[in-house]
C-alpha cells in the first residue's frame, strides 16, 4: 500500500468505510514498513503483530456484518511502554522490568479496546519517563525522523517518532513536565497534555502522581481531539479522575466561537535562551492568529522563572516515593542477595539507570528530616503562586495562552547527556502547566518545509481542551 504516508485517523476511517482498504491490509502494510523503517528510527520496543492482526480481522468482520463502528475502529495506534496491556511486556524503558508482563489493562487501553482500536506495539521512552530526549532508555536510542542525528525529544520520544515517520497513525504518551509536548514539537506532530484529572492513570506506571497525565499524539489536531475524546472520563480506579462532559465541540469547533477567544502572550516566555528561529516561528503564528480575527494581548506570568526549581523538587520527591515499589519483591528482576535488605540495594543498583538513580537520590534528600521545610514545603508554596499566575490571567478575560514549546528545535544526540541541568532546561515552557494542572497542546508551526519542526503551545483553562483543540484545528485548516 502506498497511502500510509500522512494517513490520519480521519482518512483511515473514511477509507475503511468506503472500502478503499481493509483494516487487515493497512495493519499488514504498516508492519512491513515498520520492519524496515524502525531499524533506523528505533521507536518500538515490542510489536504486537498477532494481536494487532487478530483485532484488525475482527474490525473487518464487524464491518462486513454491517455493524456501526467508532471512528477509532481498526486504527493502528502505538502505545508508550509505561502503559499496561494485559498479557504483554511493559518495561517502562527500564532493565528492572525487562521481562514484566502486565496482569491487567490500563483504563485508556480498555477504552480503546471498546472502540476496537488496533495496538501495533509499545514505544520506547526515557527510562520511567524521566527525561527530555529518549537517549536514556535501557534498550535503545530513538532517533528523530526529520534528522536521525538528532533526538526525538522525550520522554515519549518513541510515540512521537512513530507517528512522525508514519509507522503509526496515532499514539498515546504520558506527560509529567512536557513529555508529550516537547517530543511533539521536535518531531513535527501534534501532542496534547489534558487537564489534570481528565484521563485516568490507572495502569500507567506512576512517576510523579501530582503531575502525570496521559494524552494523545496525532498527525493533525483533529486526530488528537478524536483520540482524547475516547480516553477521557471518570474512572473510579483513579481517585484524581474527574467527571466531565466533553461534547462535540472537541472535534467540531465552531469558527464563530473560536474567533471570540482572546489569546494572551506571556512576556516571561520570550526571554534569553530562546532560540532566534523559534522566536521568529512563534511570531509568525501570532500574526496568523491575529489574521484569523482573534484578539491577542500581552500578559504576565511573573513566577515563571521559579517553575524549574519547583518542578525539580516536587517531581523527584514523588519519584522517590513511587519507585520504591520497584524493589525486586513482587515483580521485576531479582538479583542474588543474602538477605532482604541486601536485595533492595542490589536490585535497585543493578536495575535502574543513571537518571532514575539521580532523581531518587534528589527526591529522598528533599523529603529527608531537616530539609523538608526548606525544599519540599517551600516548593509547594511557590507551586501555588505559579498556579495563581495562570488564574489571574484567565480572570482578566484571556481564554488561551500562546507560548513556545521548547527553547530550541531538536538537539543532537549526546549534546546534553553530560549536564543534567542543561537537559532540564528543555522543559522550562512546558513544566508550569503540569504544576498548575492545565491543558496544553503542541502544534507544528506551518510552512517549515525541510527545516527542523518547531511547535507552538496553546494553554487553556482547566477542562477547556475544546478551546485549544478548536483554535488548533482552525489554525491547521487556514
Amino acid at each position: 500500500m502506498d497511502n500510509l504516508k500522512g494517513l490520519t485517523i480521519k482518512k483511515f476511517s473514511e477509507g475503511l468505510r468506503d472500502k478503499e482498504f481493509s483494516a487487515t491490509e493497512v495493519t499488514k502494510s504498516l508492519f512491513d514498513y515498520i520492519d524496515s523503517k524502525d531499524k533506523e528510527i528505533k521507536a518500538f520496543l515490542s510489536l504486537h503483530k498477532d494481536d494487532a492482526l487478530a483485532r484488525a480481522g475482527e474490525v473487518d468482520a464487524a464491518l462486513a456484518s454491517g455493524e456501526k463502528l467508532s471512528s477509532l475502529a481498526g486504527v493502528p495506534i502505538a502505545i508508550k511502554d509505561n502503559m499496561l496491556i494485559e498479557g504483554s511486556i511493559a518495561t517502562g524503558g527500564s532493565k528492572i522490568l525487562k521481562d514484566y508482563k502486565s496482569s491487567y489493562d490500563a483504563t485508556v487501553i480498555a477504552k480503546l479496546k471498546e472502540n476496537k482500536a488496533v495496538f501495533l506495539g509499545k514505544t520506547n521512552l526515557y527510562e520511567f519517563a524521566m527525561g527530555s530526549s529518549t537517549e536514556n532508555s535501557a534498550f535503545q536510542i530513538t532517533r528523530n525522523p526529520h534528522d536521525v542525528s538528532r533526538v526525538p525529544g522525550g520522554s515519549s520520544g518513541g510515540s512521537a517518532a512513530a507517528v512522525a515517520s508514519d509507522m503509526a497513525v496515532a499514539a498515546l504518551g504520558s506527560d509529567t513536565g512536557g513529555s508529550i509536548r516537547e517530543p511533539a514539537s521536535f518531531c513535527g506532530v501534534v501532542g496534547m497534555k489534558p487537564t489534570y484529572g481528565a484521563v485516568s492513570r490507572y495502569g500507567l506506571m506512576a512517576m510523579a502522581s501530582s503531575l502525570d497525565q496521559i494524552g494523545p499524539f496525532g498527525k493533525t489536531v483533529e486526530d488528537a481531539a478524536i483520540l482524547f475524546k475516547a480516553i477521557a472520563g471518570y474512572d473510579s480506579k483513579d481517585a484524581t479522575s474527574f467527571q466531565t462532559d466533553y461534547g462535540d465541540e472537541l472535534t467540531n469547533p465552531s469558527l464563530a466561537d473560536i474567533k471570540n477567544l482572546t489569546v494572551g502572550i506571556p512576556e516571561e516566555y520570550f526571554v534569553e535562551g530562546l532560540d532566534k528561529e523559534v522566536g521568529e516561528a512563534i511570531d509568525k503564528v501570532i500574526a496568523e492568529i491575529k489574521n484569523l480575527g482573534l484578539k491577542v494581548k500581552p500578559v504576565s506570568l511573573p513566577h515563571t522563572k521559579y517553575a524549574l526549581s519547583v518542578y525539580y523538587i516536587i517531581m523527584p520527591a514523588e519519584v522517590s516515593t513511587n519507585l520504591s515499589r520497584l524493589d525486586g519483591i513482587r515483580y521485576g528482576t531479582r538479583e542474588a542477595a543474602k538477605n532482604l535488605t541486601d536485595l533492595y540495594y542490589e536490585d535497585k543498583g543493578a536495575g535502574f539507570g543513571p537518571e532514575v538513580k539521580r532523581r531518587i537520590i534528589l527526591g529522598t534528600f528533599v523529603l529527608s528530616a531537616g530539609y523538608y521545610e526548606a525544599y519540599y514545603a517551600k516548593a509547594q508554596k511557590v507551586r501555588r503562586l505559579i498556579k495563581e499566575d495562570f488564574e489571574n490571567v484567565f480572570k482578566s478575560g484571556v481564554d488561551v495562552i500562546l507560548t513556545p514549546v521548547a527553547p530550541t528545535p531538536a538537539f543532537k544526540i549526546g549534546e546534553k547527556t553530560d549536564n543534567p541541568l542543561h537537559m532540564y532546561l528543555s522543559d522550562i515552557f512546558t513544566i508550569p502547566l503540569n504544576l498548575a494542572g492545565l491543558p496544553g497542546i503542541s502544534i507544528p508551526v506551518k510552512g517549515r518545509g525541510a527545516k527542523l519542526p518547531i511547535g507552538f503551545q496553546l494553554i487553556g483553562r482547566p477542562w477547556r481542551e475544546a478551546d485549544i483543540l478548536g483554535l488548533g484545528q482552525i489554525y491547521e485548516r487556514a
Binding site: K101, K348, R384
Partner: protein, 93 residues
C-alpha cells in the same frame, strides 16, 4: 555541601558505584545551588499546594463491593515463588 550522596543512598536503599556517587554529588549539589533562587521569595502567607487537583475525599459510598480477583495473574509476575506463595530472601541471616 548539603547533600551527602552515600548517606541519602542508604536512606533510599540503593547501591551506587563510587563513580556514580562522585558524579551525583557534583550534579546534585549544582542543582541544589539552583534551588536557592526560591529562598528570595517571601511565602510566609502562602498555603502549600499539595497536589494537582482540588478534589477532596473522593471516596465511594460505604458498602460491600466484591471484585473478582484472579490471583494467578499476579502470581505469574512473582520473581520467585513456592506453592503459589511469594518467596523472598530471609529477613535475618
Amino acid at each position: 555541601m548539603d547533600l551527602k550522596v552515600d548517606y541519602v543512598a542508604k536512606l533510599a536503599r540503593i547501591k551506587l558505584t563510587p563513580e556514580e556517587e562522585a558524579k551525583f554529588s557534583e550534579d546534585l549539589n549544582k542543582i541544589l545551588e539552583h534551588f536557592k533562587e526560591l529562598q528570595s521569595l517571601n511565602t510566609d502567607k502562602i498555603k502549600p499546594l499539595t497536589g494537582g487537583t482540588d478534589l477532596k475525599n473522593t471516596l465511594r459510598q460505604d458498602g460491600e463491593k466484591i471484585r473478582e480477583a484472579d490471583g494467578s495473574k499476579l502470581q505469574k509476575s512473582f520473581p520467585d515463588e513456592e506453592k503459589g506463595f511469594l518467596k523472598v530472601p530471609p529477613v535475618f541471616e
